[in-house]
């Protein structure tokens, strides 16, 4: 009997198995050279010589491609080997009987880490159960998406109620009597927020180019959030910084450079986003593993090459009131009260309390509420957080909006919703529905990566952003891997996708008779799911 090693990691423990057809392989080596994870390597195997009849010399050595068996270099199913193979000799096949998560924990005493978004997929997608059901036909005719004028702009910044605007009627002429918090009119989609570090500088640059192009050439006032990782000085000192929302999170990464650049800045940034939490891993801080901390990442962030773990909370912010004070003193003052300061939190059972507190803040300084749902993506997280913590975006957005309505303060702190938008194909539909439910706008990060070529999906494919070995060169700082990404092509794809989304948004606004954004127009939505209808207070249909 042959000895079987049960307790060693074996190929059938892994989530993906390499299917290799030796007869088609020409031994060119492209597949193994391409695999960023080192999951396949050339190897020598023995074969019985064809036609051999003697016992002696009956075996011959052949070169084959062999799957590596290990936690660090197992196959993620990215499919790059299949892409480069000239003969279709190799591909990754999903192993439905894998035992990886059990083996990893039992062997390493570590939690599983990954990138991407939750792969548990138990929640179902509420947004897909909602349809746009109120179609204008006769009493308020449908508009023409291609010919009518539509305004896709939303305020970003603190909005005050009409009686606090400081507008006085003096003999029939309106005059302003006070300065108000800054407010910008922007496109209802915000790109980001992913840091230089989490994504490659090439990916980040492509997003920045697309943002500038959409603004300067296409007339779409879209904004991009930097993520917590700083921003190149050259961009800070250029006029294009006006399209960037600078993020500050608990690690404060990159802010030394921003402060240094302030005297030389020629434009104010579009806004400041204080990240308190994120939907993919609420309660966790940022997590940039050392292998992604390239030299330029070190320079921008001012850090050594080490795992960069942002704390779960901002140091010193122990209450909402204190958070508000900090924002008041630091971020608003930093740009002399000319730049809206917003806050980003993970959707949570407690989101309404947070939103209410901000709404009632007497200093009126919070200029936006970014609510991030559990289907959001991340560059690196513990799988336990990714799959098992967080709150769905749709009902929590609705709760926050309705809390504002109850106080007659809807729109005073614009809500931007994100987390898993475009997950099932249509970003525009998701955005439109969330806007109808009360969002002023939406934000998306993961989708942008997929537009750029990310092959990861929500059924355990790739999602190895945390390793720094992204086979698409998107979530990596490896020079060879990032070269795979064509910056101009990615920028073009991003621009095209936003243009398509813009058209599709108009294709939803037109039949509902809206020439401006239908913020809070929940009467336009219907659902065949009674529970969804009851929870969101929209019309149930059958």
């Amino acid at each position: 009997m042959t000895k079987v090693t049960i307790n060693q990691l074996h190929k059938d423990d892994l989530p993906w198995i390499i299917e290799y057809d030796e007869s088609k392989c020409i031994k060119c080596g492209r597949c193994s050279a391409t695999c960023s994870f080192g999951a396949i390597k050339p190897a020598i195997e023995q074969r019985v010589k064809s036609g051999s009849i003697s016992e002696k010399n009956k075996l011959e050595k052949v070169i084959v491609i062999k799957q590596e068996i290990g936690f660090a270099n197992h196959c993620r199913g990215c499919g790059m080997c299949e892409r480069v193979c000239p003969n279709g000799a190799i591909r990754a096949v999903r192993n439905t009987d894998d035992r990886y998560s059990i083996r990893y924990r039992s062997e390493t005493a570590e939690s599983v880490k990954k990138g991407g978004r939750s792969n548990l997929n138990t929640e179902g997608r509420t947004l897909d159960k909602i349809k746009v059901g109120r179609i204008s036909q006769m009493t308020d005719p449908s508009l023409d998406a291609l010919r009518h004028t539509f305004e896709l702009k939303t305020p970003f910044g603190r909005v005050l109620s009409a009686d606090k605007l400081g507008l006085n009627n003096e003999n029939g002429k309106m005059i302003e009597t006070k300065t108000l918090p800054p407010n910008r009119w922007i496109y209802p989609i915000i790109m980001g927020d992913m840091s230089i570090g989490a994504v490659s500088w090439r990916m980040w640059e492509a997003m920045a180019i697309a943002t500038a192009y959409l603004n300067e050439v296409c007339g779409i006032p879209i904004r991009m959030c930097t993520g917590e990782g700083g921003i190149p000085s050259r961009l800070l000192k250029s006029k294009y910084v006006k399209y960037m929302i600078l993020q500050i999170a608990s690690g404060h990464f990159g802010w030394n450079r921003i402060i240094d650049a302030m005297p030389d800045m020629v434009e104010d940034p579009a806004g400041i986003l204080i990240k308190i939490g994120q939907g993919a891993k609420p309660g966790d801080g940022g997590m940039l593993m050392a292998n992604k901390v390239a030299k330029y990442v070190q320079e921008i962030r001012g850090v050594p090459k080490a795992d960069l773990l942002s704390p779960p909370t901002h140091q010193g912010l122990y209450s909402i009131e204190e958070s508000v004070q900090k924002m008041f003193l630091s971020m608003n003052a930093a740009f002399n009260f000319r730049v809206p300061v917003a806050i980003k939190v993970a959707a949570s059972v407690t989101s309404v309390s947070v939103y209410n507190n901000l709404l009632r803040d007497p200093y009126n300084i919070v200029g936006g509420f970014f609510l991030d749902g559990l289907a959001a993506g991340t560059g690196a997280a513990h799988e336990i957080s990714l799959n098992h913590t967080g709150h769905t975006i749709t009902s929590k957005l609705r709760d926050c909006y309705k809390a504002a309505v109850k106080q007659g303060r809807q729109g005073e702190i614009p809500i931007f919703a994100g987390g898993g938008l475009g997950q099932t194909g249509s970003f525009a539909a998701d955005a439109f529905k969330l806007i109808c439910l009360g969002a002023n706008g939406v934000f998306s990060g993961r989708l942008l990566l997929q537009i750029a070529g990310c092959v990861g999906n929500d059924t355990e494919r790739c999602n190895a952003c945390n390793t720094g070995l992204c086979p698409a060169g998107i979530a990596s700082q490896d020079v060879c891997l990032t070269k795979r990404l064509d910056i101009d092509k990615v920028a073009q794809n991003l621009v095209n996708y936003i243009l398509a989304t813009d058209l599709e948004l108009r294709k939803l606004m037109a039949p509902t008779g809206c020439s401006s954004l239908p913020i809070g127009r929940s009467d336009a939505l219907i659902t065949v799911d009674k529970n969804v209808a009851d929870r969101l207070d929209i019309q149930y249909v059958c």
Binding site: T139, D140, E151, L160, N169, S516, R521
Partner: protein
């Protein structure tokens, strides 16, 4: 489509004039109701301009309930006028048992009250009456204000006119301003409250079209002021927005237009510094009062000025015709042709999109382009 009309004259006019104005536009409505508001009233009410007139329709129980509430607050009846009913067979009308139009004196407690205090008393009393009548479905209160009289009824406008003897030019009702509509609300339930014109604290509004942002408007207005009630029609939102902007915020009239039909950001961006800043503040702050059309709005202000406002889509018709004594704003020119066949046609005005027309007491017309 709704057909709406507003008449302002230097001389007293009668409800029959409003009926005639709407009759020739009959093909554009469904013959389902008739409602009018009279302001700057003449005839038997002329001598009571400083006292409020209660306009209501109620059951006997509702009438008693209302009388008890008014008595409880301290109002005393000065004059009651009941229309002369012609209840002949075959009229297409669904009448209420009682129609009450009465002039009331303010309670003694308000003898030295300011104008504002008196107005608040009328608003509070109206709300209390409405709630009481709503609770046991015993009637409708249309207006309770100085120098204003309202009637709303379900049925054929012609037959409603016959029932109330409104065709008779010798009846006692006349006023210098009459606004009217010949149709019940079609978008939502047919209830008397849903018929235009809508009235609140001296402001009267009628609207042709559908308010696409009704839901947003309603949710915002419900918490804005105690008098913003009902919402049986999406067009009521225009009344409340007008009232809010002009009366509560005390902003100039043109800002009503900037609130319900805000200019696009790109258009505002072209304005000068101060104006741009003001318009952007309003656009952001009152985005939940924007209406998004398609609408033509007619209205009467507490000053007695008539207004007409056209939305940016300009999908709903309106025309203004005039002679030396009278100005008429209405949906179709056919109505004006019937009443003023000999007017100077070249003086007719067809307002453009984003235009507001204001007619003052001297019938002087001001055109304000947004």
């Amino acid at each position: 489509m709704c057909r709406i009309g507003a008449i302002k004259s230097k001389k007293n006019i009668r409800p029959s004039t409003a009926l005639k104005l709407m009759r020739s536009q009959q093909e554009g409505h469904d013959d389902s109701g008739f409602a009018f508001v009279m302001q700057d009233i003449g005839g038997i009410f002329e001598t009571y301009k400083d006292l409020p007139i209660l306009s209501m329709a109620a059951t006997i129980e509702g009438t008693r309930l209302a009388e008890d509430i008014l008595h409880d607050i301290g109002f005393t009846r000065v004059l009651q006028w009941t229309p002369d009913i012609n209840n002949k067979q075959g009229l297409k009308i669904n009448p209420m048992p009682n129609y009450i139009f009465e002039v009331l004196a303010y309670p003694k407690s308000h003898k030295y009250a300011t104008k504002e205090e008196k107005e608040q008393l009328l608003v509070d009393t109206s709300i209390r009456l409405r709630k009481a009548l709503d609770e046991n479905h015993s009637g409708y209160i249309y207006s309770f204000w100085n120098d204003v009289l309202t009637l709303k009824e379900i049925g054929s406008p012609k037959d409603i006119g016959t029932y109330f003897n409104l065709w008779d030019d010798d009846n006692e009702l006349c006023a210098k301003i009459i606004t009217a509509q010949c149709r019940q609300n079609t978008n939502y339930g047919i209830v008397r409250y849903a018929a235009h014109p809508f009235f609140l604290e001296g402001y009267t509004v009628l609207a042709n079209g559908e308010n696409t942002f009704y839901e947003k408007n309603r949710l915002y207005q419900e918490g804005l002021y105690k008098g913003y009630l009902g919402f049986e029609s999406d067009s009521q939102c225009f009344l409340y927005s007008l009232h809010y902007v002009n009366k509560i915020l005390k902003w100039p009239l043109e800002y009503f237009m900037h609130t319900v039909f805000p200019l696009s950001y790109n258009d505002i961006d072209k304005r000068n510094g101060t104006e741009k800043e003001i318009l952007l503040r309003i656009k952001a702050s009152l985005s939940h009062l924007s209406a998004n059309g398609p609408n033509t709005v007619l209205g009467v202000l507490p000053s007695g000025n008539l207004i007409c406002v056209c939305d940016p889509k300009k999908l709903r018709p309106v025309v203004i015709g005039r002679d030396s004594d009278t100005v008429i704003m209405t949906s179709e020119v056919a109505g004006i042709n019937d009443l003023m066949p000999n007017r100077d046609l070249t003086k007719d005005i067809y307002p453009k999109e984003r235009e507001m027309i204001v007619v003052d007491d001297n019938l002087k017309i001001e055109r304000i382009v947004q």
